[in-house]
Amino acid sequence: MEPVVNSQNLHHAFGKGSLSKPVLLDINLAIYPGEIVILTGPSGSGKTTLLSLMGGLRSVQQGSLKILGQELLGASKKQLVELRSQIGYIFQAHNLLDCLTAQENVRMALRLQKSLSYDDRTAQATAMLEAVGLGHRVNYRPDNLSGGQKQRVAIARALVTQPQLILADEPTAALDSQSGREVVELMQRLARDRGCTILLVTHDNRILDIAHRIIHMEDGRLMRTENPAVAVI
């Protein structure tokens, strides 16, 4: 089976010349379809940098990184934009547009798909909001939603295009434990139903159990892989 994420000898550094500071060192990682992988480790260990490389948000400097079959080393700007539209992103901050309702925010992701009719977009956005339990909040603006509800709208926005890969950066950081739990369980269920792959960066020990694999990072290196049963103890 072809991995969804495949990195080989991936190196990355910030700064130039003598000020160059390596943040990722020799990352070798393969994630297969349907897997839920949690990336954890102290801050500054390079988790977010790795995630943003995978999302096509930074240019790959050295080594190979293939996402959904697309080699990102030397990829053009257009190829990166194209790749981003095939990946679902969930951010630590929900980053919803205040001026749009929940449904309109979800639609923003669908607007890029020119083949969909207006009615199809409405139907898909509404169905997705129902799937995250916000069927009754479709026409609410972010100002009138709770933190957990906003994050669920953001999840709906990330999932509505049916991406094969979801990248989430601390999606529960701004939520209380119960909302956080609900959000990750929702992600887990949707991933299972749709067969998509999730890579989740988190500090949050309470949600480690949803993963098939937990990867620890330290000082820009992948340290060890555990299975959640060990981690919970």
């Binding site: 943003s52 934009v81 981003r84 539209s85 630590q92 980053n95 749009l100 207006y118 990330a158």
Partner: protein
């Protein structure tokens, strides 16, 4: 299918532009932006209005000349500036295609206001009464009145500083007025209109002109007014005139004559001041729209970065900002136009000079407003280019 659906339903099935959602969400900011743009529009409109009020009269005389081709001294920058020898007019009359060639004098004479005995000056239009050169019926029907010695027609729209001549004439008073040292009397009135550079015009005969300015001056024409044979090609006749006449004389079409006058007065300091005021209004508009767009982009930077992260290209996001600019320009122009219309009529009432909203000026200000918006957006989006989605994580 679309059958049975009202146009309104179909319209609502188009995605609402994000630009409009952003703008309408923050009503106070929208209101501030629109008032700012209206304010800039009013500034621009007022400058153009003042300018029009000041310069509208400058082309009255050249525009009222009744001819197809005009001969003027090649050095002449405006009507009455330079003269040429009268015999050249007779040579012009012999050019094929020229039907008539008539003399036109346009000079300045001293004028003593009969009401307060103060000396000022008046502009004198002189012609042969048998050869009318103006297309103002009130002048042409009264030309017999100016054939008598020291008689003149007076412009009722002259500035009051010449004296209450028109009212006195209407009341039947026949006061002598000292013009260029001679006692002259008003024998009729007509309406032409003055401007800031000309207090008023009197129409006299060529013979009286000779009496006022002397025989030497009477052989010097300020313009030759030519009419062409029906069907004659004006450009061909102009070319032939240029060939026949000395190089010091140039032949102009009516439009060229008016354009010459306009371009001369536009270079007056007052014209430049109003141009400057117009540019200031434009700059104020750019600053206001830029402020609004910049703070809008800045406030939504993380949202825009998110949109970039979910697959929106730079171009699509730049388009949103430019759309916002265009919406602001169109919406801000309307109250600006309405206020300017009100202020124009106020200005007309205060000065007695007709300040009209011309379609050309309206379109000019509207396109300036659009350029204003686009320019501001172009400056504001430099911020958006820096919206690095990698920094959102």
């Amino acid at each position: 299918m679309v059958f049975g659906k009202s146009p309104l339903t179909r319209l609502s099935r188009i995605e609402k532009p994000l630009a409009w959602s952003q703008l309408s969400h923050q009503r106070v900011r929208l209101l501030v932006a629109l008032s700012g743009i209206s304010f800039a529009n009013i500034l621009i409109f007022m400058q153009l209005g003042f300018r029009a009020a000041m310069f509208s009269g400058t082309t009255n005389v050249p525009a009222s000349l009744d001819g197809d081709v005009f001969l003027v001294n090649e050095k002449s920058q405006f009507l009455g500036n330079e003269t040429f020898d009268k015999p050249q007019l007779y040579r012009a009359a012999a050019v094929p295609g020229v039907a008539t060639a008539r003399p036109f004098y346009y000079n300045t004479a001293s004028w003593v206001n009969p009401d307060n005995r103060k000396t000022t000056n008046v502009t004198v239009i002189a012609m042969n009464p048998a050869q009318p050169v103006m297309s103002i019926p009130a002048i042409n029907t009264q030309l017999a009145q100016v054939e008598q010695t020291d008689r003149m027609l007076f412009d009722t729209k002259s500035l009051p500083s010449l004296g209450a001549i028109a009212t006195e004439f209407a009341a039947g008073q026949d006061l002598p007025i000292e013009v260029q040292g001679r006692k002259m009397r008003v024998n009729g009135t007509y309406a032409l209109g003055s401007n800031i550079f000309k207090r008023g015009h009197v129409v006299i005969s060529d013979v009286n002109y000779l009496r006022l300015f002397g025989a030497a001056q009477a052989t010097q024409l300020h313009a030759g007014v030519l009419k062409l044979d029906p069907g004659a090609d004006a450009q061909a006749v102009i070319a032939e005139l240029e060939r026949t006449l000395p190089e010091t004389i140039t032949a102009l079409s009516h439009d060229e004559l008016i354009a010459l006058e306009e371009s001369y007065w536009a270079k007056e300091p007052a014209g430049i001041i109003f141009d400057f005021g117009t540019i200031m209004g434009f700059v104020v508009g750019v600053v206001i729209v830029y402020q609004v767009l910049y703070s809008d982009v800045n406030d939504h930077l993380s949202e825009y970065a998110t949109l970039k992260a979910i697959g929106y290209s730079d171009g699509q996001l730049l388009l949103v900002v430019f759309q916002e600019a265009a919406i602001l320009a169109v919406l801000g122009f309307m109250p600006g136009l309405l206020s300017a219309l009100g202020l124009y009529s106020l200005l007309s009432n205060l000065t007695g000079v007709a300040v009209l909203m011309r379609l050309g000026v309206g379109l000019q200000v509207f396109s300036m407003t659009l350029v204003m918006g686009v320019l501001s957006a172009a400056i504001a989006v430099r911020k958006l280019r820096s919206a690095d989605p990698a920094d959102v994580f």
